[in-house]
């Protein structure tokens, strides 16, 4: 499986966010997207997942399920947590697991993995920012999808949770997954390649 972009450009709100971005990530590889605030890290992830229209360039996935779009084979962890405050931790995760076609019964394992199993009946309104983020991460574990697109995944997480997330990412890579993460900090998974979004063009290091 190989995710390739050639000369990708993004145009939002009447201005060019980025242009000429090319990269290629294969199974088992992680790509860290870095750059100053406003360089288009989040927009790049949203472009890959189809939430923002591609202004120019090509984006292709080789070796995936030809019946499905890239978005349908990807998990997107955005800034917003997509949790409903009036539903409990368990109900929130069970919904996303069911909605993404997983088995709704299998939420015990993922919740335990992110350390929220004791709070399964607590309404999500009472969760802290870090706990909500961990609940979102549990979604990636509950339903298997080969591509993970993570937007500053470590923000709001404490040190043990960051290590746990790094563990999940390493496991996902050894299972042949692809990770693209917009980040300012180190991802903590060793040899992640870096895509730096600069003012002009993107440089893949």
């Amino acid at each position: 499986m190989r995710l390739t972009a050639v000369d990708l450009a993004c145009h939002r709100g009447g201005r060019d966010v980025f242009g000429g971005v090319s990269f290629s990530v294969s199974s088992g590889e992680a790509l860290a997207i870095t750059g100053r605030n406003g360089a288009g890290k989040s927009s790049l992830l949203r472009t890959v997942v189809g939430l923002v229209r591609i202004a120019a360039g090509r984006l292709a996935l080789e070796g995936g399920d030809p019946e499905l779009t890239i978005a349908e084979q990807a998990h997107y962890l955005g800034h917003q947590d997509a949790q409903k405050p009036s539903l409990s931790v368990g109900e929130n995760l069970r919904f996303w697991a069911g909605f993404f076609g997983g088995k709704a019964a299998d939420i015990g394992g993922p919740l335990e993995a992110v350390g929220l199993d004791a709070l399964i009946d607590l309404p999500a309104a009472y969760l802290s920012a870090g706990q909500r983020r961990r609940l979102s991460i549990a979604r990636l574990l509950a339903v298997k999808r080969p591509i993970w697109l993570l937007d500053e995944p470590t923000s709001t997480l404490d040190a043990p949770s960051q290590q746990r997330l790094a563990g999940f990412m390493r496991m996902h890579l050894t299972e042949g997954g692809i990770i693209m993460a917009a980040t300012h900090a180190s991802l903590g998974i060793g040899d992640a390649r870096e895509l730096r979004l600069d003012d002009r063009a993107a440089v893949q290091g």
Binding site: V49, A82, S86, G98, F99
Partner: protein
């Protein structure tokens, strides 16, 4: 559970929890209709004559209440992004949200309507026809409302725009809904004619609503 069933169950759950729209809509309906006899005075003949119109207007407004949160809440917390990434077509997803909205706000109104018809001096026959017109007509209100809710999704105070967009579109439903209810009570037209047109309006909105709303959502989230 299939993705769409999961969505339906979730939306219903949110609707009946604290802050959800289900009870708010039916309470608003009760309050508005209760106020009318106080405002008009105890003229039973007058109440009976305008009763169906009052109930229909109240149902229309109650239906709007929960509508502005239908997509806006999902947009604000990021759920809508994930919903757009689902393997189910967006049109179907939108239709399922419409069904959940109707079950949580339209259906309670219909259940409450016979009871509250008593306040407006409607007899059993009047109540039955009114319930029948609401049962057929409220899905049209919901599915026309979907379009407005989708257009107003990204706006902070979209509720007002929603009302301005949606209410004019519901005029035909209102006309034929009230006409059918009145026809059964007073004539001169038969009940069947306006009722069949009301059914047609509902069926058309069931088809057009999800497609228009899905198109609006796709545009909006660019």
């Amino acid at each position: 559970m299939s993705p769409l069933a999961a969505l339906l169950v979730r939306d219903m759950r949110i609707a009946v929890r604290v802050g959800g729209g289900a009870f708010m809509g039916v309470l608003f309906f009760l309050v508005v209709v209760t106020l009318v006899p106080f405002a008009l005075g105890p003229d039973l003949a007058l109440l009976k004559r305008i009763g169906p119109a009052i109930l229909w207007l109240a149902a229309l407004l109650a239906n709007l209440l929960a509508l502005d949160r239908l997509f806006a809440a999902d947009h604000e917390d990021g759920s809508l992004d994930l919903v757009l990434m689902s393997r189910a077509p967006l049109e179907i997803v939108v239709a399922v949200k419409g069904v959940a909205h109707w079950l949580s706000t339209g259906l309670p109104l219909i259940i409450a309507a016979p009871l509250i018809g008593l306040l407006l001096n409607l007899d059993a026959r009047g109540d039955t026809t009114l319930v029948l017109t609401l049962l057929v007509g409220t899905p049209a209100l919901t599915f026309i409302g979907l379009i407005g809710a989708a257009i107003a999704v990204a706006l902070r105070r979209g509720g007002l725009l929603l009302a301005v967009l949606v209410l004019p579109l519901t005029v035909p439903v209102l006309i034929f809904g009230v006409a059918a209810a009145n026809a059964a009570l007073a004539g001169p037209v038969t009940f069947g004619t306006p009722f069949v047109i009301l059914c047609a309006l509902s069926l058309a909105s069931l088809v057009v609503g999800p497609f228009a709303a899905a198109a609006a959502l796709r545009q909006e989230l660019e």
